[in-house]
Amino acid sequence: MMLPMSTERPLIEVRDLVKHFPVRGGVLRRTVAQVKAVDGVSFDIRRGETLGLVGESGCGKTTTGRVLLRLEPATAGSVTFDGTDVLRAPARTIKALRRDMQIVFQDPYASLDPRITIGESIAEGLEIHRIGTRATRVDMVREVLGKVGLHPSSMARFPHEFSGGQRQRIGIARALVLNPRLIVCDEPVSALDVSIQSQVLNLLRALQAEFGLTYLFIAHNLSVVEHISNRVGVMYLGKLVEIAERRELFRRPRHPYTRALISAIPVANPEHRRERIILQGDVPSPINPPGGCRFHPRCWMAREICRTVEPAFEQRAPGHWSACHFADDVT
């Protein structure tokens, strides 16, 4: 498969990434099936861009992010970070890579240790990577707190003293303090109230501009992803079904699933009238995904070929890839 090549090598190259989780059953806990969480996904993340990854629960977007950081072992495929093979790198290399590749989690309540202060929590990464001395670390923590919009005196406080939005800022500070090049943001604002979400989105964007960060932004909320991303990839049942520059994707989707997702977003404008595509049925189980095109049982455009032949992920327009037999007929 060919992927678009720009003159500069992408920061991240993901090729045919597969992650299956075994389902164990019976008294002997034998593997009885595989959850095909990620089932052959390829994409690039360019330097300094934000790549959005959207899809519904169980589509594999979070697993993709975790495997990419090697927080979970991959079943097959490769991930290259600036020329280094992430999935096969020896322990020492991976430790160095972890400094470059950070993650911000969805739940700011669950991702901070309640028993240690914010300062200790942020400094943890610095200690692990043996960066600075005890004294300089304190300075670094103080500085990073300022960058994420918290008062340096927050250092001595505990997680429960902070609101959800502030905790998410702390989560961002923990990632940022290591001066990473890539941050995987896994649903960073979905646990936050609307008025707080935009504060965090603006912060992420300002930090990107200041530090030249590259983001993989994983979320189920299309409006949020559309707002923050340069390019957007759409996942369905473990597959990437479409990827394109953000505006192109929203104006001219070339996969019926993307089209349906866009039309399902509730728009905060009562005058907004549009044709709504209401998909029938639920997302099928990733243990036993439908044959042919995985989307065919819910697709209003499906024809015979969709039931039998899996569509290839192909470039349909410059930089616009889609896995649909009728990509050009999606309206």
């Binding site: 519904e56 629960s57 609101s163 939005g165 109230d193 609307v194 008025s195 707080i196 979400q197 935009s198 504060q199 989105l201 603006n202 964007r205 189920h220 299309l222 409006s223 949020v224 559309e226 707002h227 923050i228 953000r246 505006r247 929203f250 349906a260 997702l261 866009i262 039309s263 399902a264 977003i265 509730p266 728009v267 905060a268 404008n269 009562p270 005058e271 907004h272 709504r276 209401i278 998909l279 029938q280 639920d282 997302v283």
Partner: protein, 339 residues
Amino acid sequence: MATSPLLSVEHLEVQFKTQDGIVRAVNDVTFHVDRGETLGIVGESGSGKSVTAMSLMRLIPNPPGKIAGGRVMFDGEDLLQLSEPDMRHIRGNRIAMIFQDPMTSLNPVLTIGRQITESLELHMKLSNREARRRAVELLQMVGIPSADRRLDDYPHQFSGGMRQRVMIAMGLSCNPELLIADEPTTALDVTIQAQILELIKRLQHELGTAVIIITHDLGVVAGMADRVQVMYAGRIVEEGPTSEIFAQPRMPYTIGLLRSIPRLDDEQGRKLNPIRGLPPDLINLPQICPFSPRCDYFQAGQCDAQVPPLRDVAPDHRAACLFDITLETPVTAGDPVSA
């Protein structure tokens, strides 16, 4: 108004006792719902929207909670004065409620069929067989395939979207006059959310049920509600027809919310305009405009001297702001308390 509204809530006060003091979750809330209409209640966590809904059903856990004042007039009767048995007759029968999380509101050890027929037998005095027949009808109505067979399944055998359909079927089983839907689609994926909202709309149209939909999602109310009321810190801060609220919001909080959400028609790189700061602590709320510490239009000596009353700003449109702020008002405030 020619006829009296189906529901009218007057000066509702709800408080919770906590270790740190009394949380005034709902303060002097007054609103009404007409027969057959959809009222949207929007607000963020802690705004009091769910507590308001729970008080209508008298489901506030006591202690620590307490309805400290006000009236809830439903079809001429004050629900707060009813005896518990009389209230039980209203609950589920004339007023039904569906919740955010369909998994925790269904009983995991009873079949779906049993859970639906239970209320039919209780409220509608149907026989066992009649109740089962009605349950099948209800499941078909909410779009559950092979309804007859699925009656004998347990909740865990249903997906999230299907469980919410079951909840709606249960909610509608006794033909309630009012359906309260508290964040009915928040736990669901976008495509499933679209199915459920469409279903609620269709059923409302067919059955003429009045609906209160409670949500934090401005997009959901825009598509569903006839009228909207915005809550903040336990108060209603703006109310009016949906189209007015979105086109001509008059309360700075509503204006701030509309400006802070990402929209699909945005230009690339548009900076969102967040509302700075945090919602207030509901313990020891001072007698000031609750939004004033975050407001771009704050005027010292006025906003921090009283709780602005809801006042008429246009026909059927009220806002709790002392000033005539609109989307066009430039931000002039001196130097309001910074976040």
